[in-house]
Symmetry: C2
Subunit: 207 residues, 2 copies
């Protein structure tokens, strides 16, 4: 029962990418169905047949964001050999993502539902849950560093994770305001300057 019936005339993946970029730039409520159908080049019934409803399309677009553009954070946290490098790579990766010219500035998860009418609270909560996951992922990486001996047992991992998550989320606002990539990078430098005081581990000496 796979390929019966009239074939779809548009590329579902391309349509989803277009939806992601519109939601990314204008947010959930700032993007209308007619904005979406115009950008994709289809009519409303085709969109509804492929994606069910606006909210389902938005959630799918967020999931696409998290597995493509927005995947830098999780990748950096899991792959870098030390917690310090993991946090720094995560910040730098997002600075890159937020300020790349061919994309909407800032972070979709931070910006796409900062406004919310009461009717769309669930949309906001979905993104908020993802922001909390980021904080938790940073803290998990710090705890792992404690168990591996990189960080001492007295380091307040929740405090450190909250601080770097705040910088990360703040950078999303700055990028949306047009702050250039070089300035975001210098903010990462500044945030990493706090690392020794936060962890008791001095910065490595540059060669």
């Amino acid at each position: 029962m796979a390929d019966r019936g009239r074939p779809r005339r548009f590329d579902r993946e391309r349509a989803l990418r277009a939806a992601m970029e519109l939601f990314w730039e204008h947010g959930y409520e700032g993007t209308s169905i007619s904005d979406l159908t115009r950008a994709i080049g289809i009519n409303a019934p085709s969109l509804y047949a492929a994606f069910e409803c606006k909210e389902a399309l938005f959630r799918e677009a967020v999931d696409l964001y998290l597995t493509t553009a927005g995947s830098a954070t999780d990748r950096a946290l899991s792959e870098a050999p030390t917690a310090r490098e993991a946090v720094e790579a995560s910040l730098r990766g997002n600075a890159e993502l937020y300020a790349t010219a061919d994309r909407p500035g800032g972070c979709m998860v931070v910006l796409a539902a900062a406004n919310y009418s009461t009717a769309n609270r669930e949309i906001r909560d979905y993104l908020m849950e993802n922001r909390r996951k980021t904080v938790a992922a940073i803290e998990d990486r710090l705890r792992r560093a404690q168990s591996e001996g990189e960080l001492g047992p007295d380091v307040d991992t929740a405090k450190v994770a909250a601080f770097y998550a705040t910088v990360l989320h703040g950078m999303a606002i700055e990028a949306r305001d047009g702050v250039p990539h070089a300035r975001l990078t210098s903010t990462v430098d500044a945030a990493m300057d706090a690392w020794p005081a936060l962890t008791g581990v001095p910065s490595p000496v540059l060669p």
Copy 2:
């Protein structure tokens, strides 16, 4: 020609405060005229007679925010005796504001127009301009500290200002996500830990 005609039956200042709180919590597009008239307890024509249109009411509500709740930043920057105390007091004052229970969480200027449909770009730009003014005010305070000898002439004031503004704006997101005041305070502690490395001025020893 002051008090001719039928007198107004509602308190314009109270109405403006109610509008500020609604816009603060739900944003510009997330707050409808009927939300406003319901909260104030008047009908649409009364609102339009008193405030002209939705956009004018929003701008007036933002101005009220900046001169009341949101005035902590400018006050701290101008009144504190040193740049370090000014920046720290600014962060702590906003942590207080953002996480006070009887108010919407987070910062109106950061959150009220993060989403924007193309029709409301001017609203977003108005708030963005205010965010930039905050960065500029921090940098001005740092430059003053340079001229007064608190900071050396080689301190990168733009970099330091951008960093602390990023923390400030990030804290608005965290507060909206329900992060408690104590956690925001610890993030301020962490941000101030970077001060010596950023300025070359060691932290004062606590008594």
